[in-house]
């Protein structure tokens, strides 16, 4: 009986889905006759204040917006409708893993029990330490690592922390003179930057013709100066580095360590583990793989995992089990703190809630669906995808300016993919739909790609026409930035 009801509901849901939500249409400052005024254009009131402050520090009177709460709420709702976010539609930005952030994790994070002052004693916050410990251990299991620190507040901060840990390890072994970090040319820009910030010389590794690490070039590059090889797997083209065990052997034989950039971990959950591939250090992007909010909606969180040899160098404090409970401690050769307290605590709560809700089977399905979605979408679009077989993301090649393609896709009510990178693909459209999009939304995306592919290049150059802001003059915006909260007259 209950099973039957469930089936009927599913059918209805599927029907509704086929009809599809209308593609997202942004609200505009000027929409036909309608204009959304600024708050101070709606209603203002002038206030005067008696003050004991010196006259040269005070004004006689001040004019402020004067509106009721519903008017303010409606104004900001309208502003939000001028935007495009994951709550409006898919954001298939390659390497960004812009998956939907489930609302239940906000409920969990808002639980009053999470509001504990971080300076309370370990004894007073056993539940919180327990959650941190379980999350550390769970991430270690997912990555095949021996120890995890949760502190770094973003992926790039995780990279920097991981490199510092590797550097401390080399120094402790009397190998501090190792001066080079090897990075494949298609790697994320943060890899080059993190290595350089940590004081290393960056050695760029060319790709071979099938888009993977050129093993012979690595053999030539690896040596006594090698501190680290940084790699993401699957790589930026979505390709699995099939030679990963050989790559690991080459680097380890040279005395170097392997760093895993966790940006593409969303394709591997329950399928393969960086630790098993030979990686010694890795970071996890909780705001990618584990669905915590991204960037401006963040903050992010970029825990790192390490092998047992590197664990003594992790940041302090760490959490461990003790006397049937939990305690914080400083690892023996810790590199110190990289963030206040335990990092962005409530982000960690959200990631933990997300992991528990999915369980190990659910996490595996996430990766399977992410890979399926990317492959389905690639099959449906008319742009060529030169490299494969790919996993959770693919890089298509635009026939024309990839930036024009992206702008034109906005007119079809979807967010475009990452453009012009990696440079190994001409006019790249780097696309990652993630597992959270339904077949109907993937079809919307494909329809947008294909409508743009069929558009005259001259019309592409004029796009977008349907968005709140039209084409931005990037050069003028950078040369003459106008930093003002006032609406521009020429919108």
């Amino acid at each position: 009986m209950s099973q039957k009801r469930h089936e009927r509901r599913t059918e209805e849901a599927a029907e509704g889905d086929d009809e599809g939500d209308a593609p997202h249409q942004q609200a505009r400052w000027y929409d036909g006759d309608r204009y959304e005024p600024l708050l101070d254009e709606k209603s203002t009131d002038t206030v005067t204040v008696e003050s004991s402050l010196p006259d040269d520090l005070t004004r006689e009177e001040l004019t402020l917006p004067d509106l009721s709460e519903p008017e303010v709420t409606r104004h900001y709702t309208r502003l939000s409708q001028m935007n495009y976010g994951i709550d409006s539609g898919p954001i298939p930005l390659g390497s960004c893993t812009m998956k939907y952030n489930p609302a239940f994790t906000e409920d969990v994070a808002a639980h009053p029990g999470n509001r504990v002052h971080p300076l309370r004693t370990d004894e007073d916050k056993q539940g919180i330490l327990g959650l941190l410990y379980e999350l550390q251990e769970t991430l270690a299991t997912v990555g095949g690592m021996d120890a995890v620190t949760l502190q770094p507040p973003a992926g790039a901060a995780g990279e920097f922390t991981g490199i510092q840990v590797a550097k401390a390890y080399h120094e402790a072994n009397g190998e501090g003179e190792r001066s080079e970090v090897i990075v494949p040319e298609s790697a994320h820009g943060t890899n080059f930057a993190s290595a350089a910030m940590a004081g290393y010389d960056v050695v760029e590794l060319p790709s071979n013709e099938d888009g993977r690490v050129a093993v012979d070039a690595l053999e030539a590059a690896a040596g006594e100066d090698t501190a680290l090889l940084m790699l993401t797997n699957p790589n930026t083209l979505g390709l699995f580095e099939r030679d990963i065990t050989e790559i690991a052997d080459i680097v380890h034989e040279a005395g170097g360590l392997l760093y895993y950039d966790g940006a593409n971990l969303n394709s591997l959950l329950g399928k393969a583990r960086p630790g098993d591939m030979g990686f010694d250090v890795m970071h996890f992007n909780l705001h990618k793989t584990f669905a915590t909010p991204h960037g401006g909606g963040g903050p992010g969180q970029g825990p790192i995992g390490v092998s047992a040899d590197l664990a003594p160098f992790l940041p302090t404090p760490q959490v461990r089990e003790a006397d049937g409970g939990y305690e914080t401690y400083e690892p023996d050769h810790s590199i110190g703190r990289v963030h206040e307290f335990m990092g962005n605590w409530l982000v960690l709560v959200k990631a933990y809630a997300y992991i528990l809700r999915h369980g190990d089977v659910g996490l595996e399905r996430i990766s399977e669906t992410a890979v399926l979605n990317a492959n389905y979408l690639a099959e449906r679009i008319e742009y060529e995808v030169p490299y494969g077989p790919f996993h959770h993301e693919f890089v298509a090649s635009a026939d024309e300016d990839a930036a024009d393609v992206a702008k034109a896709m906005l007119d079809h009510g979807v967010h475009p993919p990452t453009t012009k990178w990696p440079e190994i693909v001409d006019e790249a459209l780097m696309t990652e739909p993630t597992e959270t999009e339904s077949k109907a939304r993937l079809d919307d995306l494909a329809a947008a790609f294909n409508a743009v592919a069929a558009t005259d290049p001259e019309d592409l150059a004029a796009a977008p026409n349907e968005t709140t802001a039209r084409r931005i003059d990037q050069a003028d915006a950078a040369r003459n930035p106008r930093l003002s909260w006032h609406a521009l007259d020429d919108t």
């Binding site: 012009k420 990037q474 050069a475 950078a478 040369r479």
Partner: protein
């Protein structure tokens, strides 16, 4: 596309030019400004500082990329084109003229012989 490569100066493979006259001026080539696209920011050393041949002396930033600038010659900077700070578009509009970057008092004029001629530079970019 054919790029302007004046024959009255010398070039680095990394797309910087230098004059070899009494006043030695340094800048970037027409090809470089075209590859960069709209330049939005330029960082140059102060007058009086030293530059070294084939080493970084500044940074040019366009809407596409941030690139290091390498000096064709070694010497002391005697003048800086401060117009570029307010109008970086001069690099796009007139890379060999108003878009010049530095004037340098060269410490070793034999370094000019190591640089590419206009023909050699053209072969390099074609």
């Amino acid at each position: 596309m054919s790029f302007d490569i004046p024959s009255d100066r010398r070039y680095l493979e990394s797309h910087e030019w230098t004059t070899t006259d009494e006043t030695v001026r340094i800048g970037i080539t027409d090809f470089a400004q075209d590859e960069l696209g709209d330049v939005v920011f330029v960082e140059l050393p102060d007058a009086g500082s030293e530059v070294t041949a084939e080493e970084e002396f500044g940074v040019v930033e366009s809407i596409k990329a941030v690139s290091d600038l390498l000096s064709p010659v070694s010497g002391t900077v005697t003048a800086v084109n401060e117009d570029l700070f307010d109008a970086p578009e001069l690099l796009n509009q007139d890379p060999y003229g108003d878009g010049w970057m530095l004037e340098v008092d060269p410490s070793d004029e034999s370094e000019f012989d190591d640089l590419l001629t206009a023909e050699e530079y053209r072969d390099n970019i074609e």
